[in-house]
Symmetry: C2
Subunit: 512 residues, 2 copies
Amino acid sequence: MNGAHALITTLVDAGVEVCFTNPGTSEMHFVAAVDDVPGMRTILGLFEGVVSGAADGYARIAGKPAATLLHLGPGMANAMANLHNARRARVPMVNIVGDHATYHTQFDAPLDSDIESAARTFSGWYGRPARVEDLARSAAEAVAAAMGPPGCVSTLVLPADVSWSDGASPAAPVPARGAAAVGDDVVEAVAKALVSGEPCVLLLGGTANREGALRHASRIATATGAKMLTEVFPTRLTRGAGVPAIDRMQYLSEFAVAQLAGTKHLVLVDAKSPVSFFAYPGKDSDLVPDGCEVHVLAGHADDAAGALAALADRVAADVQPVLAPSSRPPLPTGALSGETVAAAVGALLPEGAIVVDEAATSGLWSMGATAGCPKHDWLTLTGGAIGIGLPLSVGAAVAAPDRPVVNLQADGSAMYTIQALWTMAREGLDVTTVLFNNRSYAILNMELQRVGASPGPKALDMLDLSRPDLSFVSLAQGMGVDAVLADSAESFTSALERALREPGPHLIEALV
Amino acid sequence: MNGAHALITTLVDAGVEVCFTNPGTSEMHFVAAVDDVPGMRTILGLFEGVVSGAADGYARIAGKPAATLLHLGPGMANAMANLHNARRARVPMVNIVGDHATYHTQFDAPLDSDIESAARTFSGWYGRPARVEDLARSAAEAVAAAMGPPGCVSTLVLPADVSWSDGASPAAPVPARGAAAVGDDVVEAVAKALVSGEPCVLLLGGTANREGALRHASRIATATGAKMLTEVFPTRLTRGAGVPAIDRMQYLSEFAVAQLAGTKHLVLVDAKSPVSFFAYPGKDSDLVPDGCEVHVLAGHADDAAGALAALADRVAADVQPVLAPSSRPPLPTGALSGETVAAAVGALLPEGAIVVDEAATSGLWSMGATAGCPKHDWLTLTGGAIGIGLPLSVGAAVAAPDRPVVNLQADGSAMYTIQALWTMAREGLDVTTVLFNNRSYAILNMELQRVGASPGPKALDMLDLSRPDLSFVSLAQGMGVDAVLADSAESFTSALERALREPGPHLIEALV
């Protein structure tokens, strides 16, 4: 058995069922082996940023890793921005990076580069087995490390000769570590703060944004008067009618400061202490108010839901969670805008939908308009590297073929990984992309004002996406995706109804 | 004066006139400063791989660096594949990578990453000034290092507070190093080998592929019977009628071995010793024949043209170079194929054209068909990271607005950086893209056969670009570029004539 066969068998045995691929010559033995090993679905992306973003979306919904197949250092480099986002999302993922044969690297052939240094910047686990006998064991370790907790990106560099050489055998899965139980003393200390009568905030992140954890948190908040917040960019937030509602920390630090003003105890639950997304002249980076004590109820490797349950039993034994009521906005009419698009989405969002939100400034109204929709999951841009919405939607749709995916997508961000539309078409994925076309990097126009600049024409030109206007209808059609233009609330609503009714991918270009 | 103003002034004073940009919030002070400092043209790319590839194309034609403006680690990561190609091309380039403020990095905000480790993998020079007083001097050093020789990628990380703080002043340019003269003893030793009567090969790379150097090399080859070859993927090869013709080293190692068979003396002139592009089971990586002595006439930092001139004076004092005769193939008729496309290009290529060749398997006939065309330059994919043709064309067209650019472009490769079409449209660049649409990664189908695999349907699916077919006409039109489909030699010829006659960008989708 050659290395490639043993590797794929090991991955499948460890529960890795999907491989998002963009292979090259050094990966040809892996490619050739895929048909021989049952159980691995391969999905081609036309650019590696699609591949890595899709693996992220898959992991967020499936709760386990997909593999990626990447071509040497440059292929990995193209995947890196979305690997950065995956690192920040703390999702499991296993990259297979094909490399030159072990004996070939000494010759510094054109595609040779320092893969390890670049890979270590986003990888929680890194390995490069130099012998075919070691490959399968490395792969099993890569999967286990990826599963965490916390989840991480594992990167396994696969030299071509290790892939093609005989003498390999599959390795058994490495047992996963469970999340660590949080000690009673920690729960007790946080309970004391919560019942102190001083203003408290529960900041939920990671695994604490799922329904069970949210219900415990709501009980705690209701009983103690603490405020519940989720992080600015949650990996996966379950929400809607019947689920406790939670506000997000605000992106702009001025507003985040207002949300936290007066807080005396900040309780972190699988969340990082809040910091400003960017630095601004004369503004603080650390958003924790002066005199506020920070408590860690659960770290990233801990059982956050269990800790919240224990805490709720301690401070809110007989208290029920407060659940969001069912409600939908009326279908909008008139001009199309971020607000009317949001109302239409709120009016029509199906039960069990997965919303992928990379709408930037155009998405301001979306969460409000959907707060009372049937239960759904909300995925966001965790690491700030724009260009994830379309790929994330690919992966989410692969992980949950029975759930509709609605991608709220900004124009500028969409252009980084626009190739994802082709994969949606090829795989027949049930993704409805709402493409907000405002013909600018609107968020940067805002940021330019915030830094106090008085911009001239060259500066403004760098934030402008007109001259020429992009036609996302043409782009989508060029990649085989059904697409229509909407320029009124009525035409948008009608397009959205049709897209949600018909299977397969659709794109609605919303001129806002 | 703030850091951004001093930085831009320093760059302009050092001869950097163009900045390809894809900025974000941390670069807003740089963006705001661009209007205040005369002399810097800013050109927006919608994806960072466009930005870095364009800077490479600019450098190949202008012979000096453009700047890039990139947004933190993820922005740099998106640029990396084409930075890898630029490193292999040994072209000068100055990356400005905006980073968080120096005091902000301790908070590990979402966009924070290990920029330095990734940057050092492709950068010949790296700097991150921590004080505004040091910024301009660093920038001057970055430009000088980029200029080499050999040229390299310089990466200057610009913390946001260093950019926005006052107290900066511009720095004077750092004098460029000249290329090192090659010693008489080296020339004499190579001369001795050339006149030994044993089979010799002159392998030219880098700066030795320009007209002057080629003329000297041709004199040497004519006088001594040595064979002239250029490297597999030249950065910039001047060729056509009136210029000495030179064969390229073959990409496939079997053919390269045949080209070098029997050689006793291999003379490297700003070229690396030949190695196989990839490793293959049972095949050698090192392509130098047994018993062949390798001589370095000029290294990458040496005056290659001067060394060739001295060598020619020594062994070919009265010999004239052999120049390619003027000739063009007749206009083709009938079915469209790689061969008939090449004939049409050969029949019509304008004087002074810049050909950007990322045509992969479809381009097999292109160099033969254009060998007798009026003098032109030929740019190739130097580092094997596909997705450079469209961006390289952008940069070449910016550097030489009076020269037509013809981009011979494979379909699969085009999709990595398809966003470059928008920049062509915005800037009105005179680029004619010949898009070979064969609906597959054809080169990988070949490689799959070469590794001896018997592929199944999943494997073949990963090398196939149909289901759905891509429409490059739609994609181009969606980004504002005039585009037509050609499915016969006649319709292709007519489209090419029109594209070359009319200013601005055109795309011809050639179904081959």
